[in-house]
Amino acid sequence: MSPTNIFAPVSTPAHAIFGISMFMLVVTGAIFVVVFSLLVYAAVKFREKREDNGREPAQVYGSTQVELAWTVIPVLIVVVLFLAAARVIASIQNAAAPPNAISVTVVGHQYWWEYRYRDLNVFTANELHVPVSDPAHPTPTFLTLLSADTDHSFWVPRLAGKTDLIPNHPNHMWIDPHETGLFLGQCSQYCGVQHAKMLLRVYVQTRVEFDQWIEQQRKQGAAVVSLGRRVFESTACINCHTVAGTVANGRFGPDLTHLMSRDTIASGSVANTHENLRRWIRDPSVFKQGCLMPAMGLSDAQMDAVTEYMETLR
């Protein structure tokens, strides 16, 4: 089954949408069957026949009763559908955050996602971790959506509908996943060359696992001294990347403090392995042609050293 099927909801907003979608499908499906049958009937029944000999059919110019019927019935259907839609809009958009909600600021960048858990003092990229929410005791996650450059859109179909990330226009949405697991999605507002490889990964964990993850993300890495670190800190890498506790404090690219705690690099499009990491550092355009990180022009030895350094960032 598709991991991004909108009809396999696991979170309240997605469930509400699923409910109204089914209602809409039934209503529009019924209308379709009725009108489709009438059309087929007319097309078959009123074909010109050979025995007609070119005689014209009776000319009918209209009928007030019939016209009235097919005006009033659609109006009534529209009223019902509108009221049903209005209820779901209010239930999703006007929901208030409970005090125990997790709040995360999501910042869209040209072709990656930044996640800031301000209250928890955790900053990470591309892989969002949230706790599972028991419907009896909900612990939803409220997202504040910002953009650092162009428009983006946050869409994880099994959790909720999408909401755009627009510069200078903060938006909000919420999710309360009822199941643990990995939920996928991707940017769905065209944002530039690599819009296709701006993938979303949401890890829904039990509360215990989530708290452990937070704890681990808060730790500062061990202050290794290595050739790789020296290369990293003496080249342009640090203009864009942060490694907490070191001189690297750039903000254009993903925070690398706990790089090795992530399953993927390149915004979810490449597995985080030694070989891929090295190829990425050598020339990111091999994986994401047109992404904003340049090839750094390092020697083979330097590349090995930097890769090795990256692999210490746990």
């Binding site: 991991p3 991004t4 099927n5 059919p57 110019y61 005006t71 909000h172 060359v193 499009s269």
Partner: protein
């Protein structure tokens, strides 16, 4: 061939030298020649837009494909959308209106023939400007490569920060230039319908074609103006230090969206109302019955025109409008389904009790009814903001609006091509090739666009140059691509049929369909002056009155 026909052939003057013929076409102010040029121009760019679509479908045929680079793919979808809307659909519907409105209302030309020529050439130069962006490539200063910002070009992607070079300028300027042409033609259609009707043709006795086109022209003026304003603001932002859409300096990206969609949604009706106009002529003639509920059809059209101005933000349900705003646009959008539904029912009522002849034009119009029904119903579903939050900007939306634009508008344009081809050229098209085109196209259409709803439901966003395996999208994309190739084949049959029939088709005579509006009362092709004497009409179907003096329409209207 009968001797009479040979006499007709020899009566045509010897062919003028090519340069002279070209000069005549370039300098013409005749509405018929301008109409033909509009339509042929649209046809040529239909090929260009089709090639762009085919390139996209080859790229998406399997996951992680490498047929074109991401940059090229992004240019292809931008050019495909811009071309199909502004330089295929608009010129075609304007072309048919320019050619047919004067003939149907018994006039000798449009109200402003020189404005007519000016408007056509503005539109034509707009398209040339857009396509000249390809020339020079990235290397030549002053000519970027083709635009890659998407056909609705959301800010701030169009700012100089994110769109370096001049490709966005080509896009902006070409639309600005062609908009001048669109507004010119719209003004001209309104003036023509209001001022040039023949004696006896009151507003209530106009063919529906004229009614629908005057409403289209009104909507076009109101819709295209804000687009032009937005393009000017964008140019000010890019070159004169303005901050309308510059979010870094307090500008608003959302304002661009409002400006664009306050054009963009009525634009759908600018295109679909003329398509309704074709159906409103073709369906009655091939059902052998008068249109059902003429006054209601007129009222529904005007209703659509008004409501279409109040629904634009249903393109923006995901941009974070307050819940009250979203709720309003749900209601206004659903409201438009009512007059549109009335139209479908009235065409059905026209067929009911008729004697339907399934010639090629009618086949296309009946397919239009089926497809437009589905397009309308998915439109109602999309009007439900919560459902829209899921499938907006996904392939479900792409499928929906191609159902409208291809399944609705283009099918009727094909119907119109076949229906008026004998009038315009004086020759019949080949019926067998016409039906082959129909079946290829209807099958290709459904394989592509019916199936395309499914990847949208499975979470596939639009405008991605490639996709990951394992999302359940692979098979659907393969089938969708195959459908696109079948449609391309259909188009080749269509163009081949037109070309072959133009030279070799049977002579058509003035009234091959036994039709009822004034254009069929004069020779095919019509003489330069259209009508030797201006006709006088007493009903909506003057030729019916002529053919059935014992039972004329004017007794009942």
């Amino acid at each position: 061939m009968s001797t009479g026909l040979i006499a007709w052939d020899t009566a045509t003057p010897a062919r003028a030298p090519l340069v002279e013929t070209l000069h005549e076409w370039v300098t013409t102010v005749d509405h018929k020649r301008l109409g033909i040029m509009y339509v042929l121009y649209g046809l040529v760019l239909l090929m260009a837009g089709g090639v762009e679509a085919t390139i996209m479908r080859i790229q998406l045929i399997r996951p992680l494909n490498h047929f074109v680079s991401p940059q090229v793919f992004n240019r292809m979808f931008t050019m495909h959308g811009t071309t199909m809307i502004f330089f295929v659909a608009m010129p075609m519907v304007f072309g048919f209106a320019t050619y047919l409105v004067p003939l149907m209302i018994g006039a000798r030309d449009m109200a402003f023939p020189r404005l007519n020529a000016f408007s056509f050439w503005m539109t034509a130069f707009g398209g040339l400007l857009l396509y000249s962006s390809f020339i020079g490539g990235d290397g030549l200063y002053g000519a970027g490569n083709a635009p890659d910002v998407g056909w609705f070009a959301y800010a701030p992607l169009t700012s100089r920060t994110f769109s370096v070079g001049h490709s966005t300028d080509f896009w902006t300027l070409s639309l600005l230039v062609s908009s001048v042409g669109s507004i010119g033609t719209a003004v001209n259609i309104i003036a023509t319908v209001i001022c040039m009707r023949c004696p006896g043709m009151t507003l209530g006795k106009m063919p529906l074609f004229a009614w629908l086109n005057i409403v289209m022209a009104g909507v076009a003026i109101l819709a295209v103006s804000p687009l032009s304003a937005a393009q000017l603001m964008l140019m000010v932002d890019r070159y004169l230090g303005g901050h309308f859409f510059d979010t870094q300096a307090g500008g608003s990206a959302v304002m661009w969206m409002h400006f664009f969609w306050v054009f963009g949604h009525p634009e759908v009706y600018v295109l679909v109302i003329p398509a309704f106009a074709f159906a409103s002529e073709i369906i009655p003639v091939f059902s052998r019955k008068a249109i059902f509920g003429y006054p209601v059809m007129v009222a529904a059209t005007i209703g659509i025109g008004f409501i279409s101005m109040s629904v634009w933000a249903h393109h923006m349900f995901t941009v974070g409008m307050p819940s009250n705003g979203n709720t309003f646009f749900v209601l206004s959008t659903m409201a438009i389904a009512v007059p549109t539904g009335i139209k479908i029912f009235n065409w059905l009522g026209t067929m009911w009790g008729g004697k339907i002849q399934f010639k090629t034009p009618m086949l296309f119009c009946v397919a239009f009814l089926f497809q437009f029904l589905i397009a309308g119903l998915t439109g109602v579903m999309l009007a439900v903001a919560p459902f829209n939050w899921q499938v907006s900007a996904s392939y479900f939306v792409i499928a929906h609006f191609h159902y409208v634009i291809v399944g609705g508008i283009l099918f009727n344009i094909f119907g119109a091509f076949y229906y008026w081809f004998p009038k315009v050229t004086g020759r019949m098209y080949d019926e067998r090739l016409g039906q082959l085109h129909f079946w290829l196209f209807v099958i290709g259409f459904h394989v592509t666009f019916t199936l395309m709803h499914i990847p949208g439901i499975l979470g596939m966003p639009r405008r991605i140059y490639t996709y990951e395996p394992g999302r359940g999208w692979d098979a659907w994309n393969l089938l969708v691509s195959i459908g696109a190739f079948i449609q391309a084949l259909g188009i080749l049959v269509f163009v081949g049929n037109l070309a072959w029939s133009y030279f070799r088709g049977k002579l058509a005579g003035s009234d091959p369909w036994d039709a009822w509006t004034l254009e069929w009362s004069i020779s095919s092709p019509p003489p330069d002056y259209n009508f030797a004497t201006i006709p006088e009409v007493r009903s909506r179907r003057p030729l019916w009155d002529l053919k059935h003096p014992e039972d004329p329409d004017w007794k009942y209207e």
